[in-house]
Amino acid sequence: MLTQALFRALDRKAIWLIGILVALAVLVPAANLLIPPGQFGHVPNYAVTLFGKYLSYAMLALALDLVWGYCGILSLGHGAFFALGGYAMGMYLMRQIGNRGVYANAQLPDFMVFLNWKELPWYWQGFDNFAFAMLMVMLVPGILAFVFGFLAFRSRVTGVYLSIITQAMTYALLLAFFRNDMGFGGNNGLTDFKDILGQPIAAPTTRASLFAATAIALALSVLVCSTIVRSKLGKVMVAVRDAESRTRFLGYRVEYVKLFAFVVSAVMAGIAGALYVPQVGIINPGEFDPANSIEVVIWTAVGGRGTIVGPIIGAILVNMGKSYFTGALPELWLFALGALFVGVTLFLPKGIVGLLGQYRSLTTRREQHQPQTPGPMQLEAGLDPQPKAAE
Protein backbone atom coordinates (compact mmCIF):
# COMPACT_ATOMS: atom_id res chain seq x y z
CA MET A 1 0.00 0.00 0.00
CA LEU A 2 2.64 2.46 1.14
CA THR A 3 5.09 1.40 -1.54
CA GLN A 4 2.41 1.84 -4.19
CA ALA A 5 1.67 5.33 -2.91
CA LEU A 6 5.37 6.21 -2.87
CA PHE A 7 5.88 4.79 -6.32
CA ARG A 8 3.01 6.90 -7.63
CA ALA A 9 4.52 9.97 -5.94
CA LEU A 10 7.75 9.68 -7.88
CA ASP A 11 6.88 11.15 -11.22
CA ARG A 12 9.68 12.65 -13.29
CA LYS A 13 9.39 16.13 -11.84
CA ALA A 14 9.48 14.91 -8.24
CA ILE A 15 12.49 12.67 -8.94
CA TRP A 16 14.36 15.59 -10.49
CA LEU A 17 13.54 17.90 -7.64
CA ILE A 18 14.51 15.39 -4.97
CA GLY A 19 17.66 14.54 -6.92
CA ILE A 20 18.69 18.20 -7.11
CA LEU A 21 18.08 18.72 -3.40
CA VAL A 22 20.07 15.64 -2.41
CA ALA A 23 22.89 16.73 -4.74
CA LEU A 24 22.87 20.16 -3.11
CA ALA A 25 23.01 18.52 0.31
CA VAL A 26 26.25 16.84 -0.72
CA LEU A 27 27.86 19.35 -3.08
CA VAL A 28 27.40 22.62 -1.21
CA PRO A 29 28.98 21.39 2.06
CA ALA A 30 31.74 19.73 0.03
CA ALA A 31 32.45 22.90 -1.92
CA ASN A 32 32.46 24.83 1.35
CA LEU A 33 34.68 22.53 3.37
CA LEU A 34 36.94 20.81 0.85
CA ILE A 35 37.76 23.60 -1.60
CA PRO A 36 39.97 26.19 0.14
CA PRO A 37 38.80 29.83 0.15
CA GLY A 38 39.92 31.83 -2.86
CA GLN A 39 39.94 28.83 -5.17
CA PHE A 40 37.41 28.34 -7.93
CA GLY A 41 34.30 26.56 -6.71
CA HIS A 42 34.58 27.49 -3.05
CA VAL A 43 31.27 28.33 -1.38
CA PRO A 44 31.85 30.91 1.36
CA ASN A 45 30.55 30.25 4.88
CA TYR A 46 28.01 33.06 4.84
CA ALA A 47 26.49 31.69 1.62
CA VAL A 48 26.03 28.23 3.14
CA THR A 49 24.03 29.67 6.03
CA LEU A 50 22.13 32.08 3.80
CA PHE A 51 21.04 29.33 1.41
CA GLY A 52 20.28 27.04 4.32
CA LYS A 53 17.90 29.72 5.53
CA TYR A 54 16.32 29.99 2.08
CA LEU A 55 15.75 26.25 1.98
CA SER A 56 13.98 26.34 5.34
CA TYR A 57 11.78 29.13 3.98
CA ALA A 58 11.15 27.00 0.91
CA MET A 59 9.96 24.21 3.16
CA LEU A 60 7.59 26.61 4.90
CA ALA A 61 6.25 27.77 1.53
CA LEU A 62 5.76 24.18 0.41
CA ALA A 63 3.84 23.48 3.62
CA LEU A 64 1.60 26.47 2.98
CA ASP A 65 1.07 25.37 -0.61
CA LEU A 66 -0.23 21.99 0.55
CA VAL A 67 -3.13 23.69 2.34
CA TRP A 68 -3.57 26.73 0.13
CA GLY A 69 -2.65 25.60 -3.37
CA TYR A 70 -4.14 22.12 -3.12
CA CYS A 71 -6.85 22.36 -0.48
CA GLY A 72 -7.95 25.99 -0.84
CA ILE A 73 -7.31 26.97 2.77
CA LEU A 74 -5.60 30.36 2.69
CA SER A 75 -3.74 30.34 6.00
CA LEU A 76 -2.39 33.74 6.93
CA GLY A 77 -0.89 32.36 10.10
CA HIS A 78 1.50 29.68 8.92
CA GLY A 79 4.43 31.59 10.37
CA ALA A 80 3.06 30.61 13.78
CA PHE A 81 3.75 26.90 13.19
CA PHE A 82 7.20 27.76 11.85
CA ALA A 83 7.93 29.89 14.93
CA LEU A 84 6.65 27.21 17.34
CA GLY A 85 8.95 24.64 15.76
CA GLY A 86 11.71 27.23 16.02
CA TYR A 87 11.00 27.85 19.70
CA ALA A 88 11.08 24.12 20.46
CA MET A 89 14.51 23.93 18.81
CA GLY A 90 15.57 27.15 20.57
CA MET A 91 14.64 25.66 23.94
CA TYR A 92 16.87 22.68 23.26
CA LEU A 93 19.72 24.98 22.22
CA MET A 94 19.20 27.12 25.37
CA ARG A 95 19.56 24.04 27.56
CA GLN A 96 22.83 23.20 25.81
CA ILE A 97 24.38 26.49 26.95
CA GLY A 98 24.66 25.09 30.49
CA ASN A 99 26.86 27.22 32.72
CA ARG A 100 28.40 29.15 29.85
CA GLY A 101 25.74 31.88 30.12
CA VAL A 102 26.40 35.35 31.52
CA TYR A 103 25.17 34.29 34.96
CA ALA A 104 26.95 30.93 34.74
CA ASN A 105 23.86 29.17 36.05
CA ALA A 106 23.83 25.57 34.89
CA GLN A 107 20.19 25.04 35.90
CA LEU A 108 18.50 28.06 34.37
CA PRO A 109 18.79 30.02 31.13
CA ASP A 110 20.04 33.58 31.60
CA PHE A 111 16.70 35.30 31.14
CA MET A 112 15.16 33.22 33.93
CA VAL A 113 17.98 34.13 36.29
CA PHE A 114 17.40 37.75 35.32
CA LEU A 115 13.71 37.40 36.16
CA ASN A 116 14.66 35.94 39.53
CA TRP A 117 13.07 32.58 38.77
CA LYS A 118 14.24 29.84 41.10
CA GLU A 119 13.54 26.75 39.07
CA LEU A 120 12.88 25.62 35.54
CA PRO A 121 9.16 25.81 34.61
CA TRP A 122 7.50 22.44 33.94
CA TYR A 123 7.18 23.07 30.21
CA TRP A 124 10.95 23.44 29.90
CA GLN A 125 11.50 19.97 31.33
CA GLY A 126 12.94 17.47 28.93
CA PHE A 127 14.21 20.00 26.42
CA ASP A 128 17.83 19.19 27.23
CA ASN A 129 17.16 15.93 25.42
CA PHE A 130 17.53 16.32 21.65
CA ALA A 131 15.09 13.54 20.73
CA PHE A 132 12.43 14.96 23.05
CA ALA A 133 12.94 18.44 21.62
CA MET A 134 12.61 17.13 18.05
CA LEU A 135 9.40 15.36 19.02
CA MET A 136 8.07 18.66 20.36
CA VAL A 137 9.14 20.40 17.14
CA MET A 138 6.55 18.25 15.39
CA LEU A 139 3.98 17.76 18.16
CA VAL A 140 3.46 21.35 19.28
CA PRO A 141 2.59 22.81 15.84
CA GLY A 142 0.74 19.59 14.99
CA ILE A 143 -1.46 19.68 18.07
CA LEU A 144 -2.18 23.40 17.72
CA ALA A 145 -3.14 22.85 14.08
CA PHE A 146 -5.31 19.88 15.05
CA VAL A 147 -7.25 21.74 17.72
CA PHE A 148 -7.55 24.95 15.71
CA GLY A 149 -8.43 23.12 12.51
CA PHE A 150 -10.90 20.78 14.19
CA LEU A 151 -12.87 23.68 15.62
CA ALA A 152 -12.68 25.87 12.53
CA PHE A 153 -13.38 23.22 9.88
CA ARG A 154 -16.13 21.51 11.86
CA SER A 155 -17.90 24.86 12.16
CA ARG A 156 -17.39 25.27 8.41
CA VAL A 157 -15.42 28.46 8.70
CA THR A 158 -14.06 29.01 5.21
CA GLY A 159 -12.61 31.58 2.88
CA VAL A 160 -11.71 35.00 4.14
CA TYR A 161 -13.12 34.31 7.62
CA LEU A 162 -10.72 31.43 8.08
CA SER A 163 -7.83 33.56 6.82
CA ILE A 164 -8.68 36.22 9.37
CA ILE A 165 -8.79 33.82 12.30
CA THR A 166 -5.47 32.24 11.30
CA GLN A 167 -4.08 35.76 11.29
CA ALA A 168 -5.60 36.35 14.73
CA MET A 169 -4.03 33.10 15.94
CA THR A 170 -0.51 34.14 15.01
CA TYR A 171 -1.10 37.64 16.38
CA ALA A 172 -2.31 36.24 19.69
CA LEU A 173 0.81 34.07 19.89
CA LEU A 174 2.96 37.09 19.05
CA LEU A 175 1.50 39.01 22.00
CA ALA A 176 1.75 36.01 24.31
CA PHE A 177 5.39 35.33 23.47
CA PHE A 178 6.27 38.98 24.02
CA ARG A 179 5.34 38.59 27.69
CA ASN A 180 8.26 37.80 29.98
CA ASP A 181 6.01 35.69 32.24
CA MET A 182 5.49 33.19 29.42
CA GLY A 183 9.00 31.97 30.09
CA PHE A 184 10.29 32.12 26.53
CA GLY A 185 12.61 35.05 26.90
CA GLY A 186 10.00 37.72 26.13
CA ASN A 187 10.99 40.40 23.69
CA ASN A 188 14.54 39.08 23.23
CA GLY A 189 13.51 35.51 22.54
CA LEU A 190 16.08 32.76 22.73
CA THR A 191 19.62 33.36 21.52
CA ASP A 192 23.34 33.08 22.39
CA PHE A 193 23.30 29.43 21.40
CA LYS A 194 26.57 27.55 21.82
CA ASP A 195 26.24 23.90 20.83
CA ILE A 196 24.01 21.60 18.87
CA LEU A 197 24.48 17.88 19.51
CA GLY A 198 27.82 18.67 21.13
CA GLN A 199 29.14 20.57 18.12
CA PRO A 200 29.88 24.31 18.26
CA ILE A 201 26.99 25.94 16.47
CA ALA A 202 29.03 28.51 14.52
CA ALA A 203 31.69 26.07 13.27
CA PRO A 204 31.81 25.69 9.46
CA THR A 205 31.30 21.93 9.72
CA THR A 206 28.16 22.43 11.83
CA ARG A 207 26.87 25.06 9.42
CA ALA A 208 27.51 22.76 6.48
CA SER A 209 25.74 19.88 8.26
CA LEU A 210 22.76 22.09 9.04
CA PHE A 211 22.58 23.07 5.39
CA ALA A 212 22.67 19.41 4.37
CA ALA A 213 20.00 18.55 6.95
CA THR A 214 17.74 21.32 5.63
CA ALA A 215 18.16 20.21 2.02
CA ILE A 216 17.38 16.60 2.98
CA ALA A 217 14.36 17.68 5.05
CA LEU A 218 13.09 19.67 2.08
CA ALA A 219 13.61 16.67 -0.19
CA LEU A 220 11.58 14.53 2.22
CA SER A 221 8.86 17.18 2.34
CA VAL A 222 8.70 17.10 -1.45
CA LEU A 223 8.29 13.33 -1.25
CA VAL A 224 5.53 13.59 1.37
CA CYS A 225 3.66 16.34 -0.50
CA SER A 226 4.00 14.52 -3.79
CA THR A 227 2.69 11.31 -2.22
CA ILE A 228 -0.33 13.15 -0.86
CA VAL A 229 -1.24 15.23 -3.89
CA ARG A 230 -0.87 12.39 -6.35
CA SER A 231 -3.03 10.04 -4.30
CA LYS A 232 -6.81 9.93 -4.51
CA LEU A 233 -6.82 12.00 -1.31
CA GLY A 234 -4.91 14.68 -3.21
CA LYS A 235 -7.61 14.69 -5.87
CA VAL A 236 -10.25 14.99 -3.16
CA MET A 237 -8.30 17.92 -1.68
CA VAL A 238 -8.44 19.69 -5.05
CA ALA A 239 -12.14 18.83 -5.22
CA VAL A 240 -12.62 20.47 -1.82
CA ARG A 241 -10.74 23.51 -3.08
CA ASP A 242 -12.89 23.81 -6.21
CA ALA A 243 -16.34 22.72 -5.01
CA GLU A 244 -16.47 22.07 -1.30
CA SER A 245 -20.15 21.30 -0.89
CA ARG A 246 -20.20 19.04 -3.96
CA THR A 247 -17.44 16.97 -2.34
CA ARG A 248 -19.62 16.61 0.74
CA PHE A 249 -22.48 15.26 -1.35
CA LEU A 250 -20.11 12.62 -2.68
CA GLY A 251 -19.79 11.39 0.88
CA TYR A 252 -16.37 12.75 1.81
CA ARG A 253 -15.93 14.37 5.22
CA VAL A 254 -14.54 17.66 4.01
CA GLU A 255 -13.59 18.78 7.53
CA TYR A 256 -11.32 15.76 7.98
CA VAL A 257 -9.72 16.19 4.58
CA LYS A 258 -8.87 19.77 5.49
CA LEU A 259 -7.75 18.81 8.96
CA PHE A 260 -5.37 16.20 7.57
CA ALA A 261 -3.78 18.68 5.16
CA PHE A 262 -3.60 21.37 7.83
CA VAL A 263 -1.89 19.16 10.41
CA VAL A 264 0.62 17.67 7.95
CA SER A 265 1.39 21.19 6.76
CA ALA A 266 1.81 22.55 10.30
CA VAL A 267 4.22 19.75 11.23
CA MET A 268 6.23 20.45 8.10
CA ALA A 269 6.31 24.16 8.92
CA GLY A 270 7.45 23.32 12.47
CA ILE A 271 10.36 21.24 11.19
CA ALA A 272 11.31 24.08 8.82
CA GLY A 273 11.36 26.46 11.80
CA ALA A 274 13.52 24.08 13.81
CA LEU A 275 16.07 24.00 10.97
CA TYR A 276 15.93 27.77 10.58
CA VAL A 277 16.74 28.68 14.20
CA PRO A 278 20.21 27.14 14.58
CA GLN A 279 21.24 28.67 11.24
CA VAL A 280 20.20 32.22 12.09
CA GLY A 281 21.12 31.88 15.77
CA ILE A 282 17.99 33.43 17.28
CA ILE A 283 14.25 32.96 17.67
CA ASN A 284 12.11 35.80 18.98
CA PRO A 285 8.41 36.73 18.98
CA GLY A 286 8.95 38.73 15.79
CA GLU A 287 8.66 35.43 13.93
CA PHE A 288 4.97 35.35 14.88
CA ASP A 289 4.44 38.70 13.15
CA PRO A 290 1.38 38.41 10.84
CA ALA A 291 3.42 40.19 8.15
CA ASN A 292 5.78 37.19 8.06
CA SER A 293 2.94 34.82 7.35
CA ILE A 294 1.70 37.07 4.57
CA GLU A 295 5.17 37.07 3.05
CA VAL A 296 5.02 33.28 2.87
CA VAL A 297 1.80 33.61 0.88
CA ILE A 298 3.61 35.94 -1.52
CA TRP A 299 6.50 33.49 -2.03
CA THR A 300 4.02 30.75 -2.81
CA ALA A 301 1.99 32.91 -5.18
CA VAL A 302 5.10 34.11 -7.00
CA GLY A 303 6.45 30.60 -7.49
CA GLY A 304 3.12 29.06 -8.43
CA ARG A 305 0.59 27.60 -6.06
CA GLY A 306 -0.87 24.21 -6.64
CA THR A 307 2.50 22.90 -7.79
CA ILE A 308 5.26 21.24 -5.79
CA VAL A 309 8.22 23.06 -7.27
CA GLY A 310 6.57 26.49 -7.44
CA PRO A 311 6.66 27.50 -3.76
CA ILE A 312 10.28 26.33 -3.50
CA ILE A 313 11.35 28.48 -6.43
CA GLY A 314 9.23 31.37 -5.17
CA ALA A 315 10.65 31.27 -1.65
CA ILE A 316 14.25 31.15 -2.88
CA LEU A 317 13.88 33.86 -5.54
CA VAL A 318 11.90 36.31 -3.41
CA ASN A 319 14.30 35.88 -0.50
CA MET A 320 17.31 36.35 -2.74
CA GLY A 321 15.65 39.53 -3.94
CA LYS A 322 15.02 40.51 -0.34
CA SER A 323 18.65 39.93 0.64
CA TYR A 324 19.78 42.05 -2.28
CA PHE A 325 17.22 44.84 -1.88
CA THR A 326 17.48 45.21 1.88
CA GLY A 327 21.26 45.59 1.38
CA ALA A 328 21.24 47.86 -1.66
CA LEU A 329 17.99 49.84 -1.37
CA PRO A 330 16.54 49.07 2.06
CA GLU A 331 13.75 51.66 1.91
CA LEU A 332 12.44 50.25 -1.37
CA TRP A 333 12.08 46.60 -0.37
CA LEU A 334 8.52 46.72 0.92
CA PHE A 335 7.39 48.62 -2.15
CA ALA A 336 9.06 46.02 -4.35
CA LEU A 337 7.39 43.21 -2.40
CA GLY A 338 3.97 44.85 -2.67
CA ALA A 339 4.44 45.51 -6.38
CA LEU A 340 5.52 41.91 -6.85
CA PHE A 341 2.38 40.59 -5.20
CA VAL A 342 0.09 42.87 -7.16
CA GLY A 343 1.92 42.04 -10.37
CA VAL A 344 1.77 38.30 -9.82
CA THR A 345 -1.90 38.42 -8.86
CA LEU A 346 -2.78 40.42 -11.95
CA PHE A 347 -0.52 38.93 -14.59
CA LEU A 348 0.70 35.56 -13.35
CA PRO A 349 -2.19 33.90 -11.50
CA LYS A 350 -0.28 30.63 -11.61
CA GLY A 351 3.10 32.13 -10.78
CA ILE A 352 6.42 31.50 -12.44
CA VAL A 353 5.78 27.78 -12.82
CA GLY A 354 2.42 28.48 -14.44
CA LEU A 355 4.13 30.79 -16.91
CA LEU A 356 6.62 28.08 -17.87
CA GLY A 357 3.79 25.57 -18.18
CA GLN A 358 1.87 27.92 -20.46
CA TYR A 359 4.92 28.34 -22.67
CA ARG A 360 5.42 24.59 -22.86
CA SER A 361 1.81 23.77 -23.72
CA LEU A 362 1.98 26.45 -26.41
CA THR A 363 4.99 24.84 -28.05
CA THR A 364 3.65 21.27 -27.79
CA ARG A 365 0.32 22.36 -29.23
CA ARG A 366 2.17 23.74 -32.20
CA GLU A 367 4.03 20.46 -32.65
CA GLN A 368 0.93 18.25 -32.66
CA HIS A 369 -1.67 20.29 -34.43
CA GLN A 370 -3.05 17.15 -36.04
CA PRO A 371 -6.50 17.01 -34.46
CA GLN A 372 -7.83 13.83 -32.89
CA THR A 373 -11.06 12.56 -34.33
CA PRO A 374 -13.67 14.41 -32.36
CA GLY A 375 -16.36 12.31 -30.71
CA PRO A 376 -19.96 12.53 -31.85
CA MET A 377 -21.03 14.56 -28.84
CA GLN A 378 -18.34 17.14 -29.47
CA LEU A 379 -19.68 17.65 -32.95
CA GLU A 380 -23.22 17.84 -31.70
CA ALA A 381 -22.25 20.45 -29.22
CA GLY A 382 -20.53 22.38 -31.96
CA LEU A 383 -17.15 22.19 -30.25
CA ASP A 384 -14.10 22.39 -32.43
CA PRO A 385 -11.31 21.21 -30.16
CA GLN A 386 -8.41 21.99 -32.45
CA PRO A 387 -8.08 24.51 -35.26
CA LYS A 388 -7.74 22.70 -38.55
CA ALA A 389 -6.70 25.73 -40.54
CA ALA A 390 -3.02 25.04 -39.89
CA GLU A 391 -2.90 22.18 -42.41
Binding site: K232, F249, M377, E380
Partner: protein
Protein backbone atom coordinates in the same frame (compact mmCIF):
# COMPACT_ATOMS: atom_id res chain seq x y z
CA UNK B 1 -48.19 5.45 10.68
CA UNK B 2 -47.67 1.95 9.49
CA UNK B 3 -46.92 2.54 5.82
CA UNK B 4 -43.31 3.62 6.47
CA UNK B 5 -42.07 0.08 6.10
CA UNK B 6 -41.17 -0.84 2.57
CA UNK B 7 -40.59 2.76 1.52
CA UNK B 8 -37.30 4.06 0.19
CA UNK B 9 -38.01 7.68 0.96
CA UNK B 10 -40.72 8.84 3.32
CA UNK B 11 -41.55 12.48 3.97
CA UNK B 12 -44.39 13.31 6.33
CA UNK B 13 -45.61 16.77 7.32
CA UNK B 14 -42.28 18.41 6.44
CA UNK B 15 -42.12 22.19 6.78
CA UNK B 16 -39.28 24.67 6.55
CA UNK B 17 -39.37 28.45 6.59
CA UNK B 18 -36.72 30.96 5.57
CA UNK B 19 -37.21 34.33 7.26
CA UNK B 20 -40.87 33.59 7.69
CA UNK B 21 -41.38 32.43 4.11
CA UNK B 22 -42.66 28.86 4.07
CA UNK B 23 -40.54 27.24 1.36
CA UNK B 24 -41.94 23.81 2.23
CA UNK B 25 -45.34 23.62 3.83
CA UNK B 26 -46.56 20.34 5.30
CA UNK B 27 -45.13 18.26 2.47
CA UNK B 28 -45.71 14.53 2.42
CA UNK B 29 -44.20 12.25 -0.18
CA UNK B 30 -43.38 8.57 -0.59
CA UNK B 31 -40.98 6.87 -2.98
CA UNK B 32 -40.84 3.07 -3.11
CA UNK B 33 -37.82 0.91 -3.96
CA UNK B 34 -37.07 0.62 -7.68
CA UNK B 35 -39.57 3.31 -8.51
CA UNK B 36 -39.27 6.56 -10.38
CA UNK B 37 -41.07 9.71 -9.34
CA UNK B 38 -41.09 12.84 -11.47
CA UNK B 39 -41.65 16.13 -9.70
CA UNK B 40 -42.95 19.12 -11.59
CA UNK B 41 -44.08 22.50 -10.44
CA UNK B 42 -43.63 26.22 -10.94
CA UNK B 43 -40.49 28.08 -9.89
CA UNK B 44 -40.37 28.57 -6.14
CA UNK B 45 -42.54 25.51 -5.51
CA UNK B 46 -39.87 24.14 -3.17
CA UNK B 47 -38.46 21.41 -5.40
CA UNK B 48 -34.81 22.19 -4.76
CA UNK B 49 -35.44 22.93 -1.08
CA UNK B 50 -37.00 19.48 -0.80
CA UNK B 51 -33.79 17.97 -2.20
CA UNK B 52 -31.74 20.07 0.22
CA UNK B 53 -33.76 18.62 3.10
CA UNK B 54 -33.36 15.04 1.93
CA UNK B 55 -29.59 15.41 1.43
CA UNK B 56 -28.96 17.16 4.74
CA UNK B 57 -28.13 20.61 3.46
CA UNK B 58 -31.21 22.15 5.08
CA UNK B 59 -32.80 21.06 8.35
CA UNK B 60 -36.59 21.00 8.34
CA UNK B 61 -38.39 22.91 11.10
CA UNK B 62 -40.95 20.17 11.39
CA UNK B 63 -41.85 16.77 10.03
CA UNK B 64 -40.37 13.37 9.45
CA UNK B 65 -37.85 12.38 6.76
CA UNK B 66 -37.02 8.69 6.66
CA UNK B 67 -34.73 6.73 4.35
CA UNK B 68 -35.26 3.03 3.80
CA UNK B 69 -38.22 3.16 6.18
CA UNK B 70 -36.10 3.62 9.29
CA UNK B 71 -33.14 6.05 9.06
CA UNK B 72 -33.98 9.57 10.21
CA UNK B 73 -32.27 11.86 7.71
CA UNK B 74 -32.88 15.04 9.69
CA UNK B 75 -30.18 14.04 12.19
CA UNK B 76 -27.41 13.37 9.66
CA UNK B 77 -25.07 15.61 7.70
CA UNK B 78 -24.42 15.61 3.95
CA UNK B 79 -21.53 13.15 3.97
CA UNK B 80 -23.34 10.63 6.17
CA UNK B 81 -26.45 10.81 4.00
CA UNK B 82 -24.40 10.37 0.83
CA UNK B 83 -22.76 7.31 2.35
CA UNK B 84 -26.15 5.82 3.25
CA UNK B 85 -26.78 5.61 -0.47
CA UNK B 86 -28.43 8.83 -1.57
CA UNK B 87 -26.88 10.44 -4.61
CA UNK B 88 -27.73 13.88 -5.89
CA UNK B 89 -27.32 15.61 -9.22
CA UNK B 90 -27.52 19.36 -9.05
CA UNK B 91 -29.59 21.70 -11.16
CA UNK B 92 -26.45 23.44 -12.40
CA UNK B 93 -24.05 20.67 -13.41
CA UNK B 94 -21.41 20.58 -10.70
CA UNK B 95 -18.36 18.58 -11.66
CA UNK B 96 -14.77 19.10 -10.57
CA UNK B 97 -13.68 21.24 -13.47
CA UNK B 98 -9.93 21.26 -12.93
CA UNK B 99 -9.77 17.45 -12.92
CA UNK B 100 -10.16 14.88 -15.65
CA UNK B 101 -13.36 13.02 -16.43
CA UNK B 102 -11.70 9.85 -15.18
CA UNK B 103 -10.66 11.41 -11.87
CA UNK B 104 -14.16 12.79 -11.37
CA UNK B 105 -15.55 9.28 -11.67
CA UNK B 106 -12.79 7.73 -9.57
CA UNK B 107 -13.57 10.10 -6.71
CA UNK B 108 -17.27 9.33 -6.96
CA UNK B 109 -16.74 5.56 -7.09
CA UNK B 110 -18.22 3.82 -4.08
CA UNK B 111 -15.21 3.05 -1.89
CA UNK B 112 -14.25 3.66 1.74
CA UNK B 113 -14.25 7.43 2.26
CA UNK B 114 -11.82 7.59 5.20
CA UNK B 115 -8.72 9.77 5.03
CA UNK B 116 -6.15 7.01 5.07
CA UNK B 117 -8.19 4.63 2.93
CA UNK B 118 -8.34 7.42 0.36
CA UNK B 119 -4.65 8.29 0.71
CA UNK B 120 -3.50 4.73 0.02
CA UNK B 121 -6.18 3.89 -2.54
CA UNK B 122 -5.10 2.29 -5.77
CA UNK B 123 -7.69 1.45 -8.41
CA UNK B 124 -7.86 -2.32 -8.84
CA UNK B 125 -8.96 -4.09 -12.02
CA UNK B 126 -12.60 -4.20 -10.91
CA UNK B 127 -12.63 -0.44 -10.22
CA UNK B 128 -11.08 0.31 -13.59
CA UNK B 129 -13.60 -1.94 -15.34
CA UNK B 130 -16.44 -0.24 -13.47
CA UNK B 131 -15.25 3.24 -14.47
CA UNK B 132 -14.82 2.14 -18.10
CA UNK B 133 -18.31 0.72 -17.96
CA UNK B 134 -19.76 4.00 -16.67
CA UNK B 135 -17.80 5.95 -19.28
CA UNK B 136 -19.47 3.86 -21.95
CA UNK B 137 -22.89 4.32 -20.40
CA UNK B 138 -22.57 8.11 -20.34
CA UNK B 139 -20.65 8.11 -23.67
CA UNK B 140 -17.61 9.94 -22.43
CA UNK B 141 -15.09 7.19 -23.16
CA UNK B 142 -13.31 9.27 -25.79
CA UNK B 143 -12.95 12.18 -23.36
CA UNK B 144 -11.84 10.35 -20.25
CA UNK B 145 -8.49 12.16 -20.05
CA UNK B 146 -9.91 15.61 -20.75
CA UNK B 147 -10.51 18.14 -18.04
CA UNK B 148 -14.13 18.31 -17.00
CA UNK B 149 -14.02 22.07 -17.61
CA UNK B 150 -13.63 21.42 -21.35
CA UNK B 151 -16.85 19.40 -21.66
CA UNK B 152 -19.97 20.86 -23.21
CA UNK B 153 -22.91 21.63 -20.95
CA UNK B 154 -24.71 18.45 -21.94
CA UNK B 155 -21.59 16.36 -21.41
CA UNK B 156 -21.16 17.82 -17.93
CA UNK B 157 -24.74 16.76 -17.18
CA UNK B 158 -23.86 13.24 -18.32
CA UNK B 159 -20.65 13.22 -16.36
CA UNK B 160 -22.59 14.13 -13.27
CA UNK B 161 -25.05 11.33 -13.96
CA UNK B 162 -22.03 9.07 -14.37
CA UNK B 163 -20.72 10.20 -11.00
CA UNK B 164 -24.11 9.34 -9.51
CA UNK B 165 -23.87 5.86 -11.01
CA UNK B 166 -20.34 5.47 -9.64
CA UNK B 167 -21.62 6.25 -6.16
CA UNK B 168 -23.93 3.26 -6.55
CA UNK B 169 -26.75 4.85 -4.54
CA UNK B 170 -30.08 3.29 -3.62
CA UNK B 171 -31.87 6.56 -4.19
CA UNK B 172 -30.99 9.11 -6.88
CA UNK B 173 -32.16 12.69 -6.70
CA UNK B 174 -31.83 14.25 -10.11
CA UNK B 175 -32.44 17.98 -10.47
CA UNK B 176 -33.21 19.16 -14.03
CA UNK B 177 -30.99 16.63 -15.80
CA UNK B 178 -31.75 17.67 -19.37
CA UNK B 179 -31.28 21.42 -19.16
CA UNK B 180 -28.99 22.41 -22.02
CA UNK B 181 -29.26 19.06 -23.82
CA UNK B 182 -30.21 18.50 -27.43
CA UNK B 183 -33.41 16.56 -28.20
CA UNK B 184 -31.56 13.34 -28.93
CA UNK B 185 -29.51 13.68 -25.72
CA UNK B 186 -32.73 14.31 -23.81
CA UNK B 187 -34.29 11.15 -25.20
CA UNK B 188 -31.13 9.18 -24.31
CA UNK B 189 -31.20 10.56 -20.77
CA UNK B 190 -34.82 9.49 -20.31
CA UNK B 191 -33.89 6.01 -21.49
CA UNK B 192 -30.94 5.87 -19.12
CA UNK B 193 -32.99 7.03 -16.13
CA UNK B 194 -35.73 4.48 -16.89
CA UNK B 195 -33.06 1.79 -16.96
CA UNK B 196 -31.62 2.95 -13.63
CA UNK B 197 -35.09 2.96 -12.09
CA UNK B 198 -35.46 -0.77 -12.67
CA UNK B 199 -33.09 -1.41 -9.77
CA UNK B 200 -33.02 1.86 -7.79
CA UNK B 201 -35.36 4.60 -6.69
CA UNK B 202 -35.12 7.78 -8.74
CA UNK B 203 -36.61 11.19 -8.07
CA UNK B 204 -36.42 13.54 -11.04
CA UNK B 205 -37.23 17.23 -10.93
CA UNK B 206 -37.90 18.59 -14.40
CA UNK B 207 -39.72 21.32 -16.30
CA UNK B 208 -39.49 19.72 -19.72
CA UNK B 209 -42.91 18.05 -20.10
CA UNK B 210 -41.99 15.94 -23.11
CA UNK B 211 -39.07 14.56 -21.10
CA UNK B 212 -41.40 13.80 -18.17
CA UNK B 213 -43.69 12.01 -20.62
CA UNK B 214 -40.70 9.96 -21.81
CA UNK B 215 -39.97 8.93 -18.24
CA UNK B 216 -43.43 7.39 -18.04
CA UNK B 217 -43.43 7.48 -14.27
CA UNK B 218 -45.68 8.60 -11.46
CA UNK B 219 -45.82 12.41 -11.32
CA UNK B 220 -46.18 14.75 -8.38
CA UNK B 221 -46.87 18.44 -8.89
CA UNK B 222 -45.63 20.76 -6.16
CA UNK B 223 -46.76 24.32 -5.61
CA UNK B 224 -46.01 26.67 -2.75
CA UNK B 225 -44.18 23.98 -0.85
CA UNK B 226 -46.95 21.39 -0.84
CA UNK B 227 -48.32 18.63 -3.07
CA UNK B 228 -50.84 19.98 -5.53
CA UNK B 229 -51.61 16.79 -7.41
CA UNK B 230 -50.35 13.24 -7.80
CA UNK B 231 -50.84 10.47 -10.32
CA UNK B 232 -49.93 9.68 -13.89
CA UNK B 233 -48.87 12.53 -16.13
CA UNK B 234 -52.29 12.48 -17.83
CA UNK B 235 -54.14 12.69 -14.53
CA UNK B 236 -51.91 15.44 -13.18
CA UNK B 237 -51.95 17.55 -16.31
CA UNK B 238 -55.75 17.24 -16.49
CA UNK B 239 -56.10 18.48 -12.93
CA UNK B 240 -57.70 21.96 -13.02
CA UNK B 241 -55.52 23.21 -10.14
CA UNK B 242 -52.35 22.18 -11.95
CA UNK B 243 -53.53 23.84 -15.14
CA UNK B 244 -54.27 27.04 -13.29
CA UNK B 245 -51.15 27.22 -11.14
CA UNK B 246 -48.49 25.67 -13.36
CA UNK B 247 -49.29 24.64 -16.88
CA UNK B 248 -51.38 27.65 -17.79
CA UNK B 249 -54.48 27.54 -19.88
Amino acid sequence: MSDKTGTMLYLDGVSVAFDGFKAINNLSLIVYPAEMLAIIGPNGAGKTTMMDIITGKTRPDDGEVLFDGRTDLTRLDEAAIANLGIGRKFQKPTVFESQTVWDNLEMALRKPRGIFATLFYTADAADIARIEDILNTVRLGHRKNDLAANLSHGQKQWLEIGMLLAQDPKLLLVDEPVAGMTDSETAETAKLLREIATTRSVVVVEHDMSFVRDLGSRVTCLAEGAVLAEGSLEQVSANPLVIERYLGR
